[in-house]
């Protein structure tokens, strides 16, 4: 299993669809760590199929024996920043690129708020707008 850390957005879909909880997302200091464990992976391919950014892929390195438990099969560390509102880590750079596209305009609400908080702010802004 390989994780392309230049493409991963730390969205966590892979962890949610894994039937045996082999993928975990852990928050580091200023990074999100995505780990797939040899012990728990059943090589079903759900994570590979469901990743929206095609960050996960099968490789020839899927066989292993070990004397200790919880052996890591693949790991990726993606630099992340903390949300200004809720404090959660999120990957601003790439999500910003997704939304702003190739114009790469520095929009504060993209770089400082995580997607959930951004959605909340946008919804309240829409709700508080006067209907003219």
């Amino acid at each position: 299993m390989l994780i392309d850390s230049s493409v991963c957005r730390g969205c966590g879909v892979c962890a949610r669809v894994c039937p045996s909880n082999a993928v975990e997302l852990v928050e580091g200091d200023a990074e999100i760590i995505v780990r797939v464990y040899h012990d728990k992976c059943i090589r079903c391919g759900e994570c590979v199929e469901k990743c929206p950014y095609r960050a996960l892929s099968f490789s020839r390195e899927f066989e292993h024996t070990s004397r200790t438990s919880l052996t890591v099969m693949a790991e990726a560390r993606i630099p992340a920043v903390r949300c200004g509102a809720c404090g959660r880590l999120f990957i601003s750079e790439r999500l910003g690129v997704d939304i702003a596209g190739s114009s790469r305009r520095e929009l504060p609400y993209l770089t400082q708020l995580c997607p959930d908080c951004r959605a909340r702010v946008a919804a309240s802004a829409t709700a508080s707008r006067k209907i003219t």
């Binding site: 040899h38 012990d39 292993h64 024996t65």
Partner: protein
């Protein structure tokens, strides 16, 4: 000399603790003539009393638990346990089931884990040979 002999004559007992048989098929395939395990001195035996290596597959179902402990006690020292497949190592997809007491290392000391679902036969063989290496160092 003891280490050399224990590394070169490895008798394996295969124990299924409620597996789907995927790992069992691969384990039996590994012990079939194609992979020629006999050249390493590996032999499949039909009794845990004859075995050195206990090859365990399956997520350790509730019914199997007491029997697995009995079989483990029947294997004479020095012995090693090899957990084959994701189910034996951690529980696999059955981990949250109430019928299953995985992982195996809660009840038996597991020396080697062979990863895969199911692991390929030569990977299982590699696990057995690594177990032989550990066995040759045991007192």
């Amino acid at each position: 000399m003891r280490g050399y002999v224990l590394r070169r004559s490895i008798w394996v007992y295969h124990l299924n603790t409620g597996a789907c048989n995927g790992c069992d098929i691969e384990a039996i395939a590994a012990l079939a003539p194609r992979y020629d395990v006999e050249r390493f001195g590996v032999k499949l035996v039909g009794s845990p009393r004859h075995a050195d290596v206990l090859l365990v597959t399956g997520p350790l179902t509730r019914q199997a638990l007491s029997r697995v402990k009995r079989v483990y006690d029947m294997v004479p020292e020095p012995k090693v346990v090899v957990a084959v497949g994701t189910c034996a190592c951690d529980g696999g997809v059955f981990k949250e089931s109430p019928m299953v007491c995985s992982p195996l290392e809660r009840f038996l000391p597991v020396d080697v884990r062979v990863y895969g679902c199911p692991p390929r036969p030569h990977n299982i063989l590699r696990g057995v040979l690594e177990a032989a290496e550990i066995l040759s160092r045991k007192r």
